[in-house]
């Protein structure tokens, strides 16, 4: 293509820019160029995956009852767990129960596997959901928690206890109905408030939504405390039951729970993987994106639904681990990347690993007869990391 000859003005401008550069800019070093290359990103993602897998296998070796660490035993049981269904499919004379009984701690290993799976997946989806919300609200402090998801879930728990009383333990499936619908209602209220308050400005008001969400959260926590005081006055042990249900020490391993958990997380993660790059558009201005031929509204709607659902799943199945979805995406954005696909992958992996680490800590504590709810452990693990991040990097966000 033909280029116009450089005019004097252009040359001058170039010169002035060179001066500016030497003042403000460090020239990119080759190592930095490598750190920004695609190849390094691929290697890093792969390493993260390996690390997560390692941690997963490690966590399988921590027993919930007594704190033994016998990898060979775990390996035997795991092998059996995957082989038995196949053998019994093709070999009619194969006696599955006998094999199971012959292995020491077989059922416990399966339980541990389920626990680790729940912990890891919950960590992944809640962090991806957190990243989603930060991107949509263009605000590093937005998290599904702020919109009342956590409040909704614990509200569902309280309603569940109040309905079923002491028999609550035997109606665990109904609990999911309560929790999911309560969370949905509260999130819908927050969005409705945002929508209505944004009407005068022509559209959806982010501040309105966050404000309404904060109101709901604060109100919800106070009401919850009231109900807990009422439960405390009740002498029949409802309170212990409630604590057990909400503390998030990963109790839900029955088949129905696992099916609900796995299917919902798959439903949430699929669009995230497929639309990973496209979700970047919601971080930018609507009008610019529309001029590029992309409608942000649909993406945002999808993201909001999936994000809140993700947080709800994690909170229902893994206990109150909401601190994860606020801190991890922030840290990942701050230290590593900004592109949505990358951030959500990194955040998901990091969140999963931290969740697994907390599961290991909880197992160790449990082995010493100490009850420790997952949410508390997660918070205590994360806080030093978070303060370190803040102190090292400072603000990137305006």
């Amino acid at each position: 293509m033909p280029r116009t000859p450089q005019t004097a003005i252009e040359r001058q401008a170039k010169a002035s820019r060179v001066v500016n550069e030497s003042k403000t800019l460090r020239r990119a070093k080759p190592t930095q160029a490598f750190l920004h290359s695609r190849k390094w990103k691929r290697i890093r993602n792969f390493l993260l995956l390996i690390l997560a897998l390692e941690l997963f296998l490690l966590s399988l070796n921590f027993r919930t009852r007594n704190n033994a660490f016998i990898p060979t035993e775990t390996w035997m049981n795991l092998k059996a767990m995957f082989i038995i269904p196949f053998r019994s499919l093709f070999d009619n004379s194969f006696d599955a129960d006998a094999v199971r009984d012959s292995l020491p701690y077989y059922s416990e290993t399966v339980g541990r596997f389920k626990l680790s799976l729940i912990a890891f997946l919950s960590g992944v989806i809640i962090c991806v959901g957190g990243t989603m919300f930060q991107t949509i609200f263009k605000n590093p402090i937005a998290s599904p928690n702020m919109l009342g998801v956590a409040t909704g879930v614990s509200f569902g728990n309280i309603l569940f206890i109040l309905t079923f009383g002491l028999e609550a333990g035997s109606h665990l499936t109904a609990r999911y109905l309560y929790c999911y619908s309560a969370a949905t209602v509260l999130v819908l209220v927050a969005f409705l408030a945002g929508k209505i308050s944004g009407k005068s400005m022509g559209g959806f008001s982010v501040e309105g939504t966050i404000l309404a969400g904060m109101m709901i959260t604060q109100l919800g926590s106070v009401v919850m405390q009231y109900y807990r005081m009422q439960l405390m006055d009740d002498e029949t042990g409802l309170l212990e039951l409630y604590q057990m249900l909400t503390s998030g020490d990963l109790l839900y391993q029955d088949t129905a729970s696992m099916i609900i958990f796995l299917s919902l997380s798959t439903i949430c993660l699929l669009p995230m993987i497929l639309l990973g790059y496209r979700f970047n558009s919601v971080a930018f201005d609507d009008m610019e994106m529309k001029a590029m031929g992309i409608s942000n509204g649909r993406m945002r709607g999808l993201g909001l639904i999936i994000g809140s659902l993700m947080a709800t799943i994690a909170l229902v199945h893994c206990g109150d681990v909401g601190f994860l979805c606020m801190v991890i995406p922030f840290m990942c954005r701050d230290r590593l990347q900004t592109e949505f696909g990358e951030v959500s992958y990194l955040a998901g992996m990091t969140g999963g690993m931290i969740s697994l680490a907390s599961r290991i800590i909880i197992s160790v504590l449990n082995a010493h007869n100490m009850m420790a709810p997952a949410g508390v452990v997660v918070t205590l693990v994360l806080l030093p990391l978070f303060i370190l991040t803040i102190a090292r990097r400072g603000s990137v966000f305006k």
């Binding site: 293509m1 116009t4 496209r278 558009s281 009008m287 610019e288 001029a291 592109e339």
Partner: protein
């Protein structure tokens, strides 16, 4: 391509802000829109980009009415550079430019080899190689504007629509941006931009549309439209238009100088 505005009348909620605009610009033209604050420059822009519907009249591109076009089709003709833009997250320059390719990429896809090549080419062309991996939020105003133009170019448009591309820039950066625009126009791209400096229209020898408050707009070549009389009407201030000689290129350049004091300025 040829962009025509036929008796266009635009505004919000059925209330017309600007009326009777007849404009025709072709490939390689620079089209500049002048007018005081709040007279409806942005509204006109949004109408051209189909972000708000016109009240009456038509916007034609290559003879076809764009009202029936999809946003995607329009995006392959016109790219938009907003006035001020600060993304909340520190995307790197490369990623920001890559978002320009988003409209071309399948919703389920990721940027492929071809997209990377296009972005590489743009980074080379805009001379942004040193900034490539720096966070966009840390750039200075002029550099940001270049990145935004590069992003718009990543759409491979035939027409670039810029909203006050030189607002809040110092002289060096203004010259940088204007030179870039000039170069793009020489390559055959249509440039549409608004500005508060009439002399930019003169420098780029643009086709100029001057919007007045309560008066029909004027359209024509910069040299014929930008006169002291018209500027007085448009900005409600005394502005001298004088010619100076550029001693390096030996060209006559017209410049506008606002005058302070005087009885007429006090309104």
């Amino acid at each position: 391509m040829i962009l025509e505005l036929n008796d266009l009348c635009c505004g919000y909620n059925g209330k017309a802000i600007i009326k009777d605009i007849r404009v025709s610009v072709g490939s390689g033209d620079v089209f500049c829109i002048l007018g005081e604050n709040g007279v409806g420059k942005s509204t006109l822009f949004k109408t051209i980009l189909k972000l708000i519907p016109p009240i009456s009249g038509k916007v034609n591109i290559d003879g076809a009415d764009i009202s029936g076009w999809s946003a995607k089709k329009l995006a392959s003709y016109c790219a938009y550079v907003a006035q001020s833009h600060t993304p909340p997250f520190p995307y790197s320059v490369r990623e920001v430019i890559m978002t320009g390719r988003m409209g071309k990429i399948n919703a389920f896809g990721r940027p492929g080899k071809k997209d990377e090549e296009i972005v590489d080419g743009l980074i080379e062309e805009m001379d942004l190689r040193d900034y490539e991996n720096r966070p966009y939020t840390e750039l200075s105003g002029g550099e940001r504007q270049l990145v935004m133009i590069a992003r718009a170019l990543a759409q491979e448009p035939q027409c670039l629509v810029l909203d006050e591309p030189t607002a809040n820039l110092d002289y060096g950066n203004k010259v940088l941006v204007l030179n870039t625009l000039q170069r793009l126009a020489n390559r055959g791209m249509t440039i549409i931009f608004t500005t508060h400096d009439p002399e930019q229209a003169l420098l780029l020898n643009a086709k100029t549309l001057v919007l007045f408050r309560g008066r029909p707009p004027l359209f024509g070549n910069a040299n014929s439209v930008i006169t002291e009389k018209n500027l007085k009407r448009a900005y409600n201030a005394r502005i001298r238009v004088v010619e100076v000689l550029d001693e390096e290129t030996f060209q006559q350049v017209r410049v506008c100088i606002p005058m302070l004091g005087g009885e007429e300025n006090r309104t």
